[in-house]
């Protein structure tokens, strides 16, 4: 059984990365695991390094996933 898809949040600005959603507008396909993002990947909003993201278990507000996918 595979690991559930996870969500990560940038501690520099709060930008979130959701493995289920990916970031299609930034060239990251839905389903892309955090571990598969390059180590030199940085927050698209504030440039904070990947290592400064924290995995979070927080649900979305209504309509949140649609907004998150195009953030």
């Amino acid at each position: 059984m595979s690991e559930p898809l996870k969500r990560w949040i940038c501690l520099g600005c709060g930008f979130s990365y959701d493995e289920a959603l990916g970031l299609p507008e930034h060239g990251v396909a839905p389903g892309t695991r955090w571990a598969d993002l390059p180590e030199d990947w940085v927050c698209p909003d504030c440039g904070t390094p990947k290592a400064q993201f924290e995995m979070v278990v927080i649900g979305y507000a209504p309509g949140g996933p649609q907004l998150a996918q195009t953030a």
């Binding site: 949040i9 501690l11 520099g12 600005c13 930008f15 504030c46 904070t48 507000a61 907004l67 953030a71």
Partner: protein, 267 residues
């Protein structure tokens, strides 16, 4: 009841962020302006230390030095950010809702829930330095509609009582997380008690000024303590003491436990 941990003023992370050089796009006011930041918790790349408290990731004691100093317009998502102005004046330009230009002085405070995305710019434009306490908190839900609220704590009329500034009490600013921020300013010595909603709620007390005694611990200016698993926290505050009391659900403390284990092994 003794605190779970005590953090002395000089044990906090200390950073000086210049308006020149590599941080000049982030910090406003070149030339001459700079920000000093004393961080109670681990903050991003700036310091090691206790990785937050419940959903709190930042508890910062920041001073903007020099006219024009501050943070240039920058984006946020999700985090709920509060500033409580202690001294000076903070001009806050925020895109939440229809957009706001706010000027906050001593006793004023704001709650900015960045939610699905917002930007803000914070500046001290008067000659006086600006000192504020900043909180950054993970929200109860991701991508909430962005919101901005501001309030005022009247230091002259609300003495010797614990006043809730942020949370669910009458007149407090709403906050999208299980968290309450209260403030106590004394003009005489007194004994106080704070009962969190449940023993699963933690308390973080930060002494802005004065002296506070809790169990075996005596705290002075800018010292702080954490307590969890308590039904009621009793403490004494000296004359002319100013304290912030933050109550929050201890949601997930795996990172904190790992950090505490590392500290114990290192010592």
């Amino acid at each position: 009841m003794n605190p779970t941990f005590v953090l002395r003023a000089n044990e906090r992370g200390h950073d000086v962020i210049s308006s020149d050089g590599p941080t000049s796009s982030y910090v406003a006011g070149h030339p001459g302006a700079f920000i000093t930041r004393e961080s109670s918790f681990n903050f991003h790349q700036y310091q090691a230390g206790r990785p937050g408290f419940g959903p709190i990731r930042v508890f910062g004691d920041e001073t903007f030095h020099g006219a024009g100093c501050g943070y240039n317009m920058h984006p946020h998502h999700n985090f709920v950010i509060c500033a409580f102005v202690l001294e000076g004046e903070l001009t806050h330009i925020n895109t939440a809702g229809e957009g706001t230009v706010d000027r906050l002085r001593q006793g004023d405070y704001y709650v900015f829930s960045a939610g699905s995305g917002g930007k803000h710019c914070e500046l001290s434009i008067s000659p006086e330095d600006m000192n504020a306490i900043y909180l950054w908190v993970l929200p109860s839900q991701l991508y909430l509609p962005p919101s901005y609220h501001r309030g005022h704590f009247d230091l002259r009329t609300r003495r010797n009582q614990i006043i809730q500034l942020v949370g669910d009490a009458d007149g407090a600013l709403p906050f999208p997380q299980d968290l309450r921020v209260s403030r106590l300013v004394t003009d005489r010595k007194g004994a106080f008690a704070y009962a969190p909603r449940s023993a699963e709620h933690g308390l973080y007390l930060f002494v802005v000024d004065g002296t506070l005694t809790c169990g075996d611990a005596t705290l002075g200016r800018r010292d702080s303590l954490g307590a969890s698993g308590v039904k009621t926290l009793e403490f004494e505050a000296a004359d002319a003491t100013d304290v912030f009391i933050v109550e929050t659900a201890i949601i997930d403390d795996d990172r904190v436990r790992a950090w505490e284990k590392e500290q114990a092994e290192a010592s």
